[in-house]
Amino acid sequence: MTPSTTSPAGDPPPSAENEARGFRRLEARILRTVLWQTFSSSRLRVGVLLGLSAVLWGGLFAVGYEGFGFLRSTISHPMYEEVVRALFSTFFLWLLLMLLFSSALILYGSLFRSREVVMLLTLPVRPERIFLHKLQEAAVLSSWGFLLLGSPMLLAYGIVAEAPWYYYATLLPLLLAFVSIPVSVGAMLCLEAMYRVPSRRALVVALAGVGLVAAMVWFAAGLLLRPESDLMTIHWFRDMLGRLELTEQRLLPNWWLSSGLLEAAEGTWSEGVMFLALLVANALFCRELAVWLAARRYRRAYSRVSGAGGGRRRAWFAWLDTLTSAALAPLPRTVRLMLLKDLRLFRRDPLQWSQFLILFTLLGLYSVNVHPFQSAINYSGWVSMVSFMNLCVVGLLMATFTTRFVFPMISLEGRRLWLLSLLPLRRETILWSKFLFSAGSLWVPCGLLVLLSDWTLRVSPAVHANHQATCAVLVLGLSGIAVGLGARLPNLREASPSRIAAGFGGTLNLVLGTLYILLVAGLMALPCHFQFVAQSAKPNLPLEEFSPLGPWLRLWLVGGTLGSVLLGAAATALPLWLGLRAFRRLEY
C-alpha cells in the first residue's frame, strides 16, 4: 500500500447521485438486518405487538366511526361539514406545531450530538447529504405515532362520509406531504438556532417550549373564556365555529390538508388533487430550502455547537436534594439513594423535564379552562362525561410518560450495571426504586390534575373518590408495566431514551398501557358515570327501572371496582415479577 498522492485529487469524489445511492444502500442494509433479526429471533414478540396494535387501531377506528356517525346524525348537513373542517383544522394545527417542535429536538440530538455524524463528517460526504439522512430519520421518529393513530380516524371519516375511492388513494400522500412540511421547517429552525446561538441552545429550547405553551393558553383562552351559551344548540355550534376560525388560516398547511381531505371525501376530486399538489409542492420547497441551508450552515453550526458551553458546570439546587432526601427518609437508605440519583439525572436533563412540563402544563391549563363549560352544561350527564373523558386523557398522559421516561430507565441503568453490580446493592432494590420513582412522580401531578378537573366541573364527592381511586390503580399498574417490561425487554445498546422508547419494548409498553387504561376505566369509572347519569336524570326512580342496563349496573359497579383492583394488582405485580427474574439474570 502506498499513499496515493500528495494532493487530495486522487480518485474523483462521488457524484451527488452516487452519494445518495450509497446512503440508500446503507439504510436499506440496516433496515434489512433489523427486520431479519426481529423476525428470526422474536416472532412471538412481534406477533403480540402487531396483534395489540391492531386491537388499539381497531378501537380508535370504532371510536372515530361512532364519533363521526354521531355528529352526522346530530348536526344538519351544511353545519356538519363546518364542524368537521373546524375539528380537522384544529387537530392538524396542533399536530403541525408538535411535529415542528419534536423534529427540531430530535434533529438537535441526531445532527449535533450523535457519534454517527462525527464519523460521517470526517468522510468526504456533502453536509447536505448527512442532513437529509438525519432528516428522514427525524421524520419517521416524530410522525409514526401520528400516522398510526390518525389513520383510523381519517378512514372512519371516509366511511361515514361515504367518500369515493380517491379519498383513500390520496390519504397517505396527503399525510406524508403534510408531515414533511413541519419536519423541514423544524430542521431549519434547529440549524439556524445552533448556528446563531449555539451557547444558548438550552434557552432556545425553553423559550420554544414556553412559546408553544403560551400559544396554547392563548388559543384555549380565546376558545373558552367568552360568554357562554347553551350547550349543543345551533347558537353554541356557531359560536364555537367562530372561535375556531383562528385555526383555519388559508396560508397554513393544516388548512390545505383538511380541505384536501374534505374535498376528496365530498367527491370533488379536482379540488382534492389541487390541495394535494399544493401540499406536495410546499413540502418539496421546504425540503429544498432546508437542504440549501444545511449545505451552507451545517458544518459551521456543528463546529459552533461543539465549541459552545465550555468550562465548568456546577450542580445547582443541592437544597432540593436535601429536601427530597428528608421527604424520602422512611424508605430504606439504598432505595432513597437510587431515587435521589434518578431525580438528579432527570432534573439536569432539560430535554427530559421540558417535555414532562409541557404535557402537564397543557393538561393543567385544560382542566382550569374547563370551568366556563360547567355553567354552560345544564345537562348533568355531560358533566359526568367530560370528567370521565378527562380521567381517560390523564391516563393516556400517564401511559405516554411511563413509555417515554420510565420504560427506558432500566435499559439506561443496564449500561451502568458494571458499577451497580459492584456495589452492595440488590437488584430488587434497583427495580423497586424505579417503580417508586415512577409511581411517586405520577401519582401527585396526575391525582392533582384529576382533582382539579373534577373540582372545576363540581362533580359529587362519590365521583371524586371513584376517580381518585381509578387514578391510583392506573398509576400503580402503569408503573408496574413500564418497570417490568423495561427490565424484561432492555435495550442495552442504545444510549438515547427516546430511541429506546420508540423500539419494540417501548411500543409494546404503550399498547399494553393503553389497553390497561381502557380496561380499568371501563370497569371502574364508566359504571360510576352511568349511575351518576341515571340518578341525576331520575333521582326518585329505582336504578333497575332507569334503563335496560339498570339491573346490571350495580353489579358492574361493584364487580368492576373489585375486578379493576385485582387487574391493577396483577398489572403491578406480574410485570415486576417477570422483570425482576430477567433483571437478576442480566449480565454486563
Binding site: 500500500m1 502506498t2 499513499p3 496515493s4 498522492t5 500528495t6 494532493s7 487530495p8 485529487a9 486522487g10 480518485d11 474523483p12 469524489p13 462521488p14 452516487n18 452519494e19 450509497g22 444502500r25 446503507l26 442494509r29 440496516i30 438486518t33 433489523v34 433479526q37 457519534r115 454517527e116 462525527v118 464519523m119 463528517l121 470526517t122 468522510l123 468526504p124 460526504v125 456533502r126 451557547s199 458544518r299 459551521r300 456543528y302 463546529s303 461543539s306 465549541g307 459552545a308 458551553g309 465550555g310 468550562g311 445498546r493
Partner: protein, 249 residues
C-alpha cells in the same frame, strides 16, 4: 502535508488550543503528547474538519480545511479514539460504504478491501455484524476503513488503547510503513513508549500551548538529560507552575 498555522480554538471562555503552529512533512510520524485537557484531541478535530479554528489556518496537502473541507478530508484517513461503527452492518458492508463515500469504483473497492483484509487479518469476521466485534476487532476494521482510499495523511487518536500486543505491533508497523511510503502521520497518544519507539518528532502540549516540538534527542538536549527515557522528560515538561515551585521549595 499537514500545516497548523497559529491555530487557536476556544470552548466558550476556555482556550483549548492556543497559537498552535505545527507542520508534518511527508515520510514523517509526529506524536502529540500532553496531559488530559492539553488540547491534543481538539487539535486533531480541527485538522479533520470537525471543528473550525477561531484563529489561524489548517492545511492538508495544500488545501484549506475550512474553505475546502471535503477536498481536504479526501486526503485524510482518520482513526478516532472511540470510533463509530454501524452495528447492524457487517464489517465488509461498513468498508464498502466508506469506500463508496470516497468515490472508489466497484472493482477498486473489492481490491482494496481484499488488501486491507489481509493486512489486518479481518477475514475471520468481516462477514459478521459489527455489533459482535471486540474492541480490537473494531479498531482493526476502523484502521482498514481509514486506509481504503490510500490517504496521503493518516491521523490517529490514541491508536493502541485496548489493543492486544499483536494488534499493537500491527499498528506500530502500519504507522511506520505509512510514513516510509511517503505519507504523513499525526498521532495523539498517552502511551509514551509508543511515541518513543515510532515517532520522528514529538510535540508536547500543555494548557493548549505547544511546549516542545522536535525529536527525542532534541528534547534530551533541551532538558539537559542525555540518555533519559521519554517519561521523566515529559513529566518535567508538563509540570504545572505549582508543582514546579513545590519541587523548588
Amino acid at each position: 502535508m499537514i500545516q497548523f498555522e497559529n491555530v487557536t480554538r476556544r470552548y466558550g471562555q476556555t482556550v483549548a488550543v492556543s497559537g498552535l503552529t505545527l507542520t508534518v512533512d511527508r515520510g514523517e510520524v509526529v506524536a502529540l503528547l500532553g496531559p488530559n485537557g492539553a488540547g491534543k484531541t481538539t487539535a486533531i478535530r480541527v485538522l479533520v474538519g470537525l471543528l473550525r479554528p477561531d484563529e489561524g489556518a489548517v492545511r492538508l496537502c495544500g488545501c484549506d480545511a475550512v474553505e475546502q473541507p471535503r477536498r481536504a478530508i479526501r486526503s485524510v484517513g482518520y482513526v478516532p479514539e472511540d470510533p463509530f461503527l454501524y452495528e447492524k452492518l457487517s464489517g465488509r458492508e461498513f468498508l464498502e460504504f466508506a469506500a463508496e463515500m470516497h468515490g472508489l469504483d466497484r472493482a477498486t473497492v473489492r481490491q482494496r478491501i481484499a488488501r486491507e483484509t489481509e493486512r489486518f487479518d479481518l477475514g475471520g469476521f468481516l462477514g459478521d455484524l459489527t455489533e459482535t466485534y471486540s474492541h480490537g476487532m473494531k479498531q482493526r476494521l476502523v484502521f482498514a476503513s481509514a486506509l481504503l482510499h490510500d490517504p496521503a495523511v493518516l491521523v490517529v487518536d490514541e491508536p493502541t488503547v485496548g489493543l492486544d500486543p499483536w494488534s499493537v505491533r500491527v499498528v506500530k508497523d502500519l504507522l511506520r510503513s505509512q510514513a516510509a511510503a511517503g505519507g504523513a502521520v499525526l498521532m495523539s497518544t498517552h502511551t509514551l513508549s509508543l511515541a518513543e519507539e515510532i515517532a520522528d518528532r514529538i510535540g508536547v502540549l500543555r494548557g493548549g500551548r505547544l511546549r516542545f516540538l522536535g525529536s527525542l534527542p532534541d528534547l534530551r538536549r533541551e532538558l539537559a538529560a542525555p540518555g533519559a527515557p521519554l517519561e521523566p522528560l515529559f513529566l518535567e515538561l508538563t509540570k504545572t507552575d505549582g508543582e514546579r515551585s513545590k519541587d523548588e521549595g
